[in-house]
Symmetry: C2
Subunit: 315 residues, 2 copies
Amino acid sequence: MVKTVYVASLVSSIVVNLLFMIINIYVGGEWSLSWSSKAAAEAEAVADIACSGHGRAYLDGLVGDENEPVCECNTCYTGPNCSHFIPHCTADADSGDPLFLEPFWMQHSTSSALVVSGWHRMSYNFHDNTLISQHLESLIRKLHAFVGNAVTQDRYIVFGAGSTQVLSAAAYALSLANSSSSHSPTRVVASVPYYALYKQQVEYFNSEKFKYEGDAHTWRNRSESDASTNVIEFVTSPNNPDGLLNKAVLHGPNVKTIYDRAYYWPHFTPIPAPADEDLMVFTLSKLTGHAGSRFGWARMKLCLTKWYYTCKSIP
Amino acid sequence: MVKTVYVASLVSSIVVNLLFMIINIYVGGEWSLSWSSKAAAEAEAVADIACSGHGRAYLDGLVGDENEPVCECNTCYTGPNCSHFIPHCTADADSGDPLFLEPFWMQHSTSSALVVSGWHRMSYNFHDNTLISQHLESLIRKLHAFVGNAVTQDRYIVFGAGSTQVLSAAAYALSLANSSSSHSPTRVVASVPYYALYKQQVEYFNSEKFKYEGDAHTWRNRSESDASTNVIEFVTSPNNPDGLLNKAVLHGPNVKTIYDRAYYWPHFTPIPAPADEDLMVFTLSKLTGHAGSRFGWARMKLCLTKWYYTCKSIP
């Protein structure tokens, strides 16, 4: 009787040990985690905060009375869990904020998670002494090839802090490449209706090189007397705000065109063919929805950059 | 005899049970990790790659033949583990690249690790509809108070993509605030020797608002005939390249001063007192060494911003 109890206890204990061993081997990857586990646990704890599907909490976001992360609610929702709908509240249907893509990344939490070490890329430059990540540039080329929305073979790629910066840099770079010996400023135009930023940036920087003229069609009707004037036309295709697959209005030796291809992705428009204009600009904001990350790129046939940017050799 | 063996075996097994339980409770946080564990394991594996103290591997860095991350070596070192010193190699002692701070962050790997979810801050704006992180601004205020290098009470803070961008934005913002009705461009000066970027940015943007004049002392000697001309003086303190705690050379109602306080931290210079000039600019590059992250800020007495930046209410 006593022997049976001992045997039963021993067998049970050994089975428990075997279970522990199997579980530990199964999650063996986690056993080897050291310096990243605290940060990982903090991130997962914040992600677990339930906000009723109408908000989310962040590590660097709103905090409650005890410094604990709390929900940041979407427009028209409030309450500790964002479950309270605010009556008579109007939604902003005009904004381009791409939060409609947020559920996609939440569903792909494992493959989209990123652990950044405290010493990650501290240098000003990459290993090849450029400011362009070779790895990221390769991924962008693969992406365009996979989606089929842009030709990238034998084309240069440069980055910017959002396409906002790239669009401005493109205008400066093109003004240096202008063939005309005209000393008057390059005129900048776009077809109405157009994305307000083109005009805002030209006016903000107030460069001697540019002057915002307004509508491209109106400029074309005036252009006979201005044949020697350099012109940059911003073409947005698909257009913001009307979604049309616009093409350049102006042509000629003194005309340079910047194609803003922000929305030229399958989730916004059909893709008739891979685009291959001289200079095209894309943004992460409309591709993945990470508008807050501020990342955009230009893809171009000629190396038009100056100053800090240098075109990497075409792979 | 048999009973003794059973008792010994049972006691041993139960001790092992208890050990497993203690270990699992101790690392219990890791057991609850789900979506972040894969990214964490990848980051730790890359960090474990040994590069002889003369390089490091990155998740997004150089890869070998089988796509595995490999060492990116420091200048003058080569080989798969960066252990081979290149004879007659010259080191770059002129660069401001702050990699001397890298060992500090490697030693503080746990507290400096960061896990970014795939849906982190996708929106263009923060919850208060601004582009400035309240959390980060609070930390910067605490930092300045703790170090004692800048007065931040009743002062505004705005961010930029590196102090590079903040310095340019500051010049634009000050030119709008100029009281003189002079229509000639604002002259920009700095005392020789000065950081080349001030001149480079003014010339790159080629704005109608500015003209780079060169040395501040030379300008002062000419200034009697230019009393109505607006001037912006860049003062770097401590100075790049000579480390002097410079002060403004120019004064007067038409003079605005931008203090570049990039190096005003205890690891570069003694801190006689908390600085409190009208407009001061700082950069993360020289504080923590994260030059590649591109982050800087301005601290100012008046809200001088325009366009996308708005000054948050002073806490």
